[in-house]
Amino acid sequence: MSAVDARAPAPTAGALAPYRVVDLSTARGWLTGRILADLGADVVKVEPPGGDPGRRLPPFADDEPGPERSLQWWFANRGKRSVCLDLDDADGVALARRLLAGADVVVESFDPGYLAERGLGYDELHALNPRLVVTSVTPFGQDGPYAGWAGPDLVLSAMGGPMWLTGEPDRPPVRISVPQYEMHGAAEGAVATAIALYHAAATGEGQHVDVSCQLAAIRTLMNATAFPYLEGVELSRQGREVAHGHARFRMLYACADGHVSVLLTAGALGGPIVKALLRWIGEEEGVPEHLSEVDWVAMDFAELATSEEGRAFFAEVSAVIDDFFARRTKAELYAEALARGFLLAPANTVADIRVDEQLAARGFFVEVDHPERPEPVVYPGPWARLSETPLAHGARAPRVGEHNRAVLVDELGLGPGELRSLHARGVV
């Protein structure tokens, strides 16, 4: 174990330890509160009686459905506490208001207007608690012509632009198969919440933070959005190649047990990579002289790659690499690239990531106790190491209403009789 082992106990409280977050979010907004919980905030997840509908999302532990078995729930609600409140009931709303009166942040991701219809809109919350930061994570934002439109991952990948740029020319554009863009929006919600919280702590002034997942998806396009304005060109999907202005270069190769990524380009960035790779191939199996003697660093890639002759040349180099890689594994190629100092990455699966030696050396994966299971479950660990305020980890996601008594009675001052009566009426 190294000095930065994530499994070492946290010596101090987290960076956001003084803050109370009330998390009303639906599944698309869960990650915001999870990140704030990692930073030490006390995050109280409010669920409807019977549990958050997102608990029905697969995959499930042992593939058996159940409200305490959703792995999406486990991942994105780790470190939170849970109380049940019925926001469709006046008493439930009244309790939510009591909770919010003492909170620093509320995170929500309902369709715009949902909370206002229940007397919990931004204006009411601001009147109740002027220092409250109200963070809303929705597909398109709180207002505008598409506010309230349905925006699951496939729609966000389309309307945010990633899909147009991804896939093979002979098939429709394609999304990343694992949903991404609600999580981008929710993570952006964490940034914006932290900024608003910093302001509220200094001034006592809360505000409404309105995050658009569509815009968060657009930001993932790197440099693409300005191409039509600067170069008069619309970038499009190119399969295993990547559009680079008018030129394209190949980024992906099959190998014996999967795929690896290497840039087949030239110039200051790509030249040294191709040079080192061809030197290796040359040492092992030989490379035609007219390829090995090319000055890859001095070569003007953009010019070459847009000519017929240049394309034929790169196709020839590609074929040499294809042949060489086909007889080697991801691990062999990665190890040799590391030893020779050129850039190559295996296209890892989650199984590869789980046994990655760098992650192991840093103690990345952490064990989380699940009392209902015989063994702790190994989770992906901290997304950053903060030297003085390490991220929290280790607490599993809460069971439905697990902290009703602690939060509503011990902290909010509800009498035990009141709690029983609310419970009997199904409000909690």
């Binding site: 190294s2 990140i35 505008g144 429709p172 990343i176 900024i195 760098q358």
Partner: protein, 411 residues
Amino acid sequence: MTGTQVFDGLKVWDMSWVGVGPLTGRYLADYGATVVRLDSSQRPDVLRLTPPFRDGVPGINNSHFYADYNASKLGIGLDLDNALGREVAWRLVEWCDVLLESFTPKTMAAWGMSYAELRERNPTMVMLSTCMQGQTGPRRDYRGFGNLMAALSGFYEVCGYPDRDPVPVYGAYTDFVCQRFAATAVVAALDHRRRTGQGQHIDLSQYEAAIQLLGPQLLDYEVNGRVATRQGNRSELACPHGVYPTLPVRGHEGWIAIACETDEHWRALRRAMGDPPWARDPGLATFLGRKAAEDEVDAHVAAWTAGGDQLELLRTLQPAVPAGAVHDQTGLHEDAQVRQRGYFVTLEHTEMGPVPYDGLQARLSRTPGRLTKAAPCVGEDSYAVLSDLLGMDEDEIADLIAAEAVEITGG
């Protein structure tokens, strides 16, 4: 300065380059911090050499890629191989509240600028170090960028069609995961610092941050032994769930995404299509029934969309049916919602002139951030940084110029 920005008065020395570091600095700059970005024409940020370029002409001051990621910042052209240049870097270390860097650990160590050394001169600063695989461990000095990291972090494997090789996700994908975690960590550390006076060092491995977005899949592997892979546009939860052709858009192919996540969505799709006979098949009323006939359902839906105008279909389907225009870049700029949000912001760049820049993804009602300027040309702000921020006089600055320690243009 308006006096209403969250980070008014906050001083940031941005020694980072390429993606995650500069994008983290841009959050701070857009919300009011004074951010000074390290710059050089001799060792330029690779983004200065990367398109898009104004009129497609490569040039160190002609890359919009760099100008976007360093908008709202000042720049200083500095030679860190020059002793006087390094001394200016150290002055900025003492000046700053936040230091950002994204080199491999051995690079900072070679300059004598490890966190331990920097802290001696500025014990309360918040420092972000973000390299590919973290500050420790056998691969701490792995060089790379977000495209390769997207492969390493598992995103390529889950992108593409099941019967073919994966396809690369566009761009340095992991950068745009990591910028969010990095910025959150820095702002939280600043909050802690204001309460306690304590600075700290943040080690953000881009590998460890990126794979958070495969969290449920990592657990699925751990608990169920399932290895996530690519499945085109299909979903285990929704049907139909795909991308279908429309009439051409602006002279090229048009596509619309449709995701029926519930039977109610399916019924709304039927109504939108005019309830054709094939769709009335009672077997298709349930998710499992549609999933069993997915190829046929997709073919029928595609036949219906193929004769339609993309935006008309979109307005017909939403909000009852989750649907999205598959936007190209011009489509994004013309999208009614994106325009209403004012996402793209036109800024005047000294050499490139007025061009749209990516703006802010969140709207803060009382302290909205804003882009104040495009990134400078190399050396354009150097004099202002040395004079106004570090308080150097004319003689000191002249000595730096004579020693070729700084690059100053204009002024």
